[in-house]
């Protein structure tokens, strides 16, 4: 346990010392919300709705992109080499990938909470009458995303491949799920495709909490994301091989 905590602490330090990752999860996310909210809402009465929409959807987009934070933490060239020493040490294999998952989760979750703490009062955005449920629901989604990033690294043995594949997949799913533009009013095939995107389910769950104060989708999403997270960690255990690191 002591060794795991040492590795975890080192991973956290490395993540918070990475200006690109910190900037991407804070400044870039905030800027994207400002731009999208301003372009679609303007300065009139619609602006509040627009910011409400984009804070939620782009936050989900940021949470899912946590997969890239994890892959960076696990296999980025400058990190991968010193990580090799952890493989050589008597620390065991589980702490190697699990500490990357946990540290990426803590990193992303902390920065996204910070983002909400700044943006909600600034843009007059609400998280519902029970914001704790909103914040609670973020946790398994964040965890699921970072575990997915690590599993892809274990399978493809490369940060570049993982980032390319996940970036494309997440962007497409988010686009179809209405992250950038809502397709709720669209009919026919587009409406069907939108409904099939898992991002749409996440959007619906978070909007239900923040706008309707409804918990109807809270438990299904919480349990679903938690079960998927466990399966992804088990997948990491199955696919992680030390030779991929050497």
């Amino acid at each position: 346990m002591r060794r795991f905590l040492l590795i975890f602490k080192m991973d956290i330090i490395n993540l918070f010392k990475n200006p690109v990752l910190v900037g991407y999860n804070t400044l870039f996310a905030a800027l994207l919300i400002f731009i999208m909210g301003f372009l679609t809402g303007g300065n009139d009465a619609h602006s509040k709705d627009a910011y409400q929409y984009y804070v939620v959807t782009l936050l989900i987009y940021g949470m899912l992109n946590g997969a890239m934070t994890a892959s960076n933490c696990f296999m980025e060239r400058d990190i991968k080499r010193p990580n090799l020493r952890i493989i050589y040490s008597p620390a065991g294999l589980f702490p190697i990938y699990f500490s990357k998952i946990l540290s990426s989760f803590v990193f992303d979750y902390t920065l996204h909470l910070l983002l909400l703490a700044v943006l909600c009062p600034l843009l007059n955005v609400t998280l519902g009458i029970h914001p704790i449920f909103f914040v609670l629901l973020m946790a398994p989604v964040e965890f699921m995303a970072v575990a997915l990033g690590i599993l892809f690294c274990c399978i493809f043995h490369s940060e570049e491949t993982t980032s390319s594949l996940l970036s494309l997949t997440i962007s497409v799913l988010c686009f179809l799920g209405g992250t950038f533009f809502s397709f709720d009013g669209a009919g026919g095939a587009l409406a069907l495709i939108t409904k099939l995107s898992p991002v749409k389910w996440l959007n619906d769950a978070f909007f239900a909490l923040s706008c309707d104060n409804s918990l109807t989708l809270f438990w299904p999403v919480l349990i679903g994301a938690s079960v998927i997270s466990v399966l992804l960690v088990l997948g990491c255990r199955l696919f992680f091989r030390t030779e991929d690191y050497i």
Partner: protein
């Protein structure tokens, strides 16, 4: 001599290509065992299997009389590994790197502090302990790379070409440090393709080529195999068509190799035949630019065994 490690019939293939072919050797306690071979000989694969980072397809490795698989944590605790690439956190200081890696081996508190101080002195980086690694020169990083492997005072240090790409001054520093480790009784396995490093630090040598061990022994015993031989390297201005077979007409010549304008001849020692070689070349119209000769060396041993230069 007591065996610290025994490797027997180690085999490894990658995509059907056999890179290690049933290699067996022992590592004696307190020795510096150099594994010598050209690129692609199987040195790094051997090291990766010894460090338990890579599995083998067959064979057995015993450490202190027990298979390493049955005591993996104990085995890893006893190892210090210097990987081929510099494996350090660039954004952290030398002290922080050492402290982190040593603590993975269970050191903490005062014991950790002392180990870090000692390793910094060993690496000659005591005065740069608080500086970030990214501000270090290549040689300093290499020294710290080694210090990180020995800070926890391992029984066996495995070094995979630790001097690649560094300046001669840093290389000398590292070689002297390794000699000190050896003299203090630490067991070292060292892979390299630099013959001069082997000459300086080795207690015993294993020569590998094409995934097999082709010779094993001390410097002296290996050189003994060719002590009756002498090598001439003759550089001609332009090769006018002389073939290596032509040299066998000269008494004492055992082998000849022609590579462009360079002719390498292995001859029996004690037979004065250089003048006849020169005459042969002159008769064929070759203009000699330079002649050098050398007595038994590890380079010659390697050449004899593999028929190729170490860095080919």
């Amino acid at each position: 001599m007591e065996h610290l490690m025994s490797v027997s019939h180690l085999t490894k293939s990658f995509k059907g290509n056999k890179v290690l072919n049933e290699i067996s050797f022992n590592v004696h306690r307190g020795e510096a065992l150099c594994i010598l071979g050209p690129n692609g000989a199987g040195k790094t694969t051997t090291i990766n299997i010894l460090t338990a980072a890579l599995g083998s397809d067959g064979g057995d490795i015993q450490f202190q009389g027990k298979p390493i698989g049955s005591q993996l944590r104990t085995y890893k605790q006893a190892l210090g590994i210097v990987p081929q690439d510099v494996a350090l956190y660039e954004e952290l200081s030398a002290e922080r790197n050492l402290s982190f890696f040593a603590s993975l081996y269970g050191l903490h508190g005062n014991e950790l502090k002392q180990a870090v101080d000692k390793a910094l002195v060993f690496a000659g980086l005591d005065d740069r302990r608080h500086d970030k690694v990214k501000t270090f020169s290549g040689g300093m990083k290499r020294r710290l790379n080694i210090a990180c492997a020995i800070a926890h005072d391992p029984e066996l240090v495995i070094m995979d070409e630790p001097t690649v790409g560094i300046d001669p001054q840093s290389r000398n520093y590292i070689l002297e440090s390794i000699k000190k480790l050896r003299d203090h009784g630490m067991t070292v396995i060292y892979t390299t393709h630099y013959m001069e490093e082997v000459e300086v630090i080795s207690s015993r040598i294993i020569i590998m080529d094409h995934g097999a061990i082709i010779a094993e022994g001390t410097k002296e015993s290996l050189k003994e195999e060719i002590q009756n031989e002498k090598r001439y390297i003759i550089e001609v201005e332009e090769n006018c068509g002389i073939s290596h077979d032509d040299f066998f007409s000269v008494e004492g010549v055992k082998a000849a190799k022609i590579d462009g304008s360079i002719i390498e001849i292995t001859s029996l020692k004690g037979i004065e035949n250089l003048d006849r070689m020169i005459a042969l070349l002159s008769n064929r119209g070759e203009k000699i630019r330079n002649i050098t000769s050398e007595n038994a060396s590890l380079e010659m041993v390697f050449l004899k065994l593999t028929n190729r230069k170490l860095r080919d």
